[in-house]
């Protein structure tokens, strides 16, 4: 086991289409035994980061350290890492047993040790009956477990997983997610987990790294990322349905900070934004669960018209039109609204997010 330090990592790909900046100045400390997730939209550099840690790709600049040792130039086989690929990458011509054993064999483990470890891993992952089958004769979930087993069997210092669950159907995914969590509890190896499923990241991780265009946007505990997003990008990326965003101005009136958007005026809690944006342009964010239906004559009530109501299990998402656009409201399933109906909305003043400016990565004002 090891802690991992990623230091000022840059990666450029030069191709026919010019230069792609896949990673820009990524610095990150991962504690020994930590489960850390990298999330972000497609192409944001998650896989690239993982491949550089694995040694499958060399960084343009920057260093990787395991327990203080600089391993940036080491070959993958000299790093004592294990990786689970999105495609599983099981060796198709080998049986499950041979797949599991391969890494041990390459490191010269004697026969009885190999047999012992295969037995232990197979028992832990419940794949004993399949040891003599080939990967093509396994179901997706079974292949997934074999891929995990092949990585686990070597007691790696660092465990790298690249969207290991994305090829599974929804139900199996939830199941394997729980297994993965249990597994981490058991082995306590440092795990770096790449996913673009934020639910996976939220449920599994000690900390989450949110990335966009190769740049780290925020790193923090799941609840921190959710309740205190560092910028507009993180706020919108994390959470389904995503946070409502209203663009407008902020000014101070009679000593109180006031946000005004199209048809909306919200009095901000006095202590909330310490520094107001100098330009006066700002984006107000509020999660669907923090918007409530209020009486039309309540102070600050925002008039809106229901466009669509969706039932999602125990809750409902209502899409309502306000003057400046559309807002999503999340309520218990029992709250039934009909399209065309007019309602009044109230924002929970303690759950407002205010961002400096209206750009994609407008920083949060605190």
């Amino acid at each position: 086991m090891a802690n991992v330090r990623i230091e000022r990592l840059h990666k450029e790909f030069r191709g026919a289409g010019g230069i792609v900046h896949a990673l820009a100045d990524l610095t990150l400390d991962i504690a020994d035994g930590e489960f850390i997730s990298l999330v972000g939209p497609s192409g944001c550099g998650k896989t690239t980061a993982l491949r550089i840690i694995a040694g499958l790709e060399t960084p343009t600049s920057g260093r990787i350290l395991f327990d203080g040792r600089d391993i940036t130039r080491l070959e993958p086989r000299d790093r004592n890492i294990a990786m689970v690929f999105q495609s599983y990458a099981l060796y198709p011509h080998m049986t499950v047993r041979q797949n599991l054993e391969y890494g041990l064999r390459k490191r010269g483990a004697p026969r009885d040790e190999r047999a012992r470890k295969v037995a232990a891993i197979a028992a832990m992952l419940r794949i004993e009956p399949m040891l003599d089958r080939r990967p093509l004769q396994l179901s997706g979930g079974q292949r997934q477990r074999v891929a995990l087993g092949r990585a686990l069997i070597r007691d790696p210092e660092v465990f790298l997983l690249d969207e290991p669950l994305s090829n599974l159907d929804a139900k199996l995914r939830v199941h394997m997610r729980a297994e993965l969590a249990a597994l981490h509890q058991k082995v306590r190896t440092t795990m770096v987990y790449v996913t673009h499923d934020q639910l996976e990241a939220m449920t599994l991780s000690d900390r989450i790294v949110v990335m966009n265009h190769g740049v780290m946007q925020q790193v923090g505990r799941p609840e921190e990322i959710y309740s205190r997003p560092a910028n507009r990008f993180v706020a919108e990326f994390i959470g389904t349905p995503s946070m409502n965003m209203i663009e407008g101005q902020v000014r101070t009136e009679a000593g109180r900070p006031l946000f005004t958007g199209p048809g909306i005026t919200v009095v901000l809690p006095r202590d909330a934004p310490q520094a107001l944006p100098s330009s006066g342009r700002a984006t107000l964010g509020i999660r669907p669960e923090h918007v409530s239906l209020v009486a039309p004559d309540a102070p600050g009530a925002i008039p809106a018209r229901v466009t669509v109501s969706e039932l999602a299990g125990p809750e409902r998402f209502h899409f309502v039109a306000v003057e400046g656009g559309s807002i999503i409201v999340r309520t218990p399933a029992a709250t039934v609204l009909h399209p065309g109906e007019t309602v009044a909305l109230g924002f929970d003043p303690d759950r407002l997010h205010l961002f400096d400016g209206t750009g994609e990565d407008a920083p949060a004002l605190r």
Binding site: A54, G55, L56, R77, F85, Y91, P92, G103
Partner: protein
């Protein structure tokens, strides 16, 4: 194709088969007829009298056995070398990021298509200086001019179709580059290796020009030029020649029998499941 249409094609297939197979049949049947029956008019389609005399003569009176062994040696060596060198080259072309890779790949195809007749004289001059004329190794090397580009051309697609993930998994599991190639990539490419290997072998087995010009020592001769002497030196014993031809065809027939399975999945490259 639905079976009904397939059935309609049978007559056509049979016709084609007859056209291609008849000379082979004639060769084999002539080799089993006594000398007197060979020239009979009208000819007999099935030998009236069966005899193995020509085969016995072939081994007792001519150096056919030697020619056969020489050919086998040269072909096996050149095929082996072509597979090793060609596969490594093909792997590099398929995997590594090298400047000018595409241009080089096209050059390989050009080399493969270059007429051997234009190569043989420069090769002869070169080989004389290197002392590689009149040597089985030399002839094997000469065959590589055709076999290596061929292997490279076909195996490149095979290697490209093996998922990179597999190799990277092996690298992480502790293999070296070559180790990953050997443990993980080659097993996926076995059908391609077999198919290209057999083709390279057959090319060398049938090759006449290089064999004639690069080897002048009678004891080192290979089959194609060696058999030509049967035509000129004796007053052309057709039964004998047909016996020799039949035996010389045998490895090819065997090879094609073996290859068939792989031709379908194999040469269609990408027939490898990830």
């Amino acid at each position: 194709m639905p079976p009904r249409n397939a059935a309609r094609l049978y007559p056509l297939v049979l016709l084609l088969l007859a056209f291609v197979a008849f000379p082979l049949y004639w060769m084999a049947s002539t080799s089993l007829k006594p000398q007197t029956e060979v020239f009979r008019v009208p000819p007999t389609f099935v030998p009236e009298t069966w005899t193995l005399r020509h085969y016995v003569e072939l081994f007792w009176l001519t150096d056919f056995g030697l020619l056969f062994v020489n050919s086998l040696k040269v072909c096996l060596v050149s095929t082996g070398l072509a597979l090793v060198v060609g596969s490594l080259g093909a792997y590099a072309l398929a995997r590594f990021r090298v400047r000018g890779k595409e241009a080089y790949g096209r050059l390989v195809l050009l080399a493969y298509m270059f007429p051997g007749a234009l190569l043989v004289i420069p090769l002869l001059l070169l080989f004389r200086q290197l002392g590689l004329t009149n040597s089985h190794l030399g002839l094997s090397l000469a065959y590589l001019t055709f076999a290596v580009p061929f292997v490279m051309w076909v195996m490149r697609d095979f290697f490209a179709s093996v998922p990179v993930d597999l190799e990277e998994a092996a690298l992480i599991d502790g293999a070296s580059r070559l180790g990953a190639l050997w443990d993980v990539v080659l097993p996926q490419a076995v059908p391609g290796l077999i198919a290209t290997g057999i083709f390279a072998f057959l090319f060398a087995w049938n090759e006449y020009l290089f064999a004639l010009i690069l080897i002048s020592d009678e004891s080192l001769r290979t089959l194609p030029p060696g058999m030509m002497r049967f035509v000129s030196t004796t007053d052309t014993n057709w039964g004998l020649i047909m016996a020799a031809s039949t035996l010389a065809t045998l490895p090819m027939a065997l090879a094609f029998g073996l290859i068939q399975r792989y031709l379908v999945t194999g040469l269609g490259a990408g027939g490898v499941k990830g």
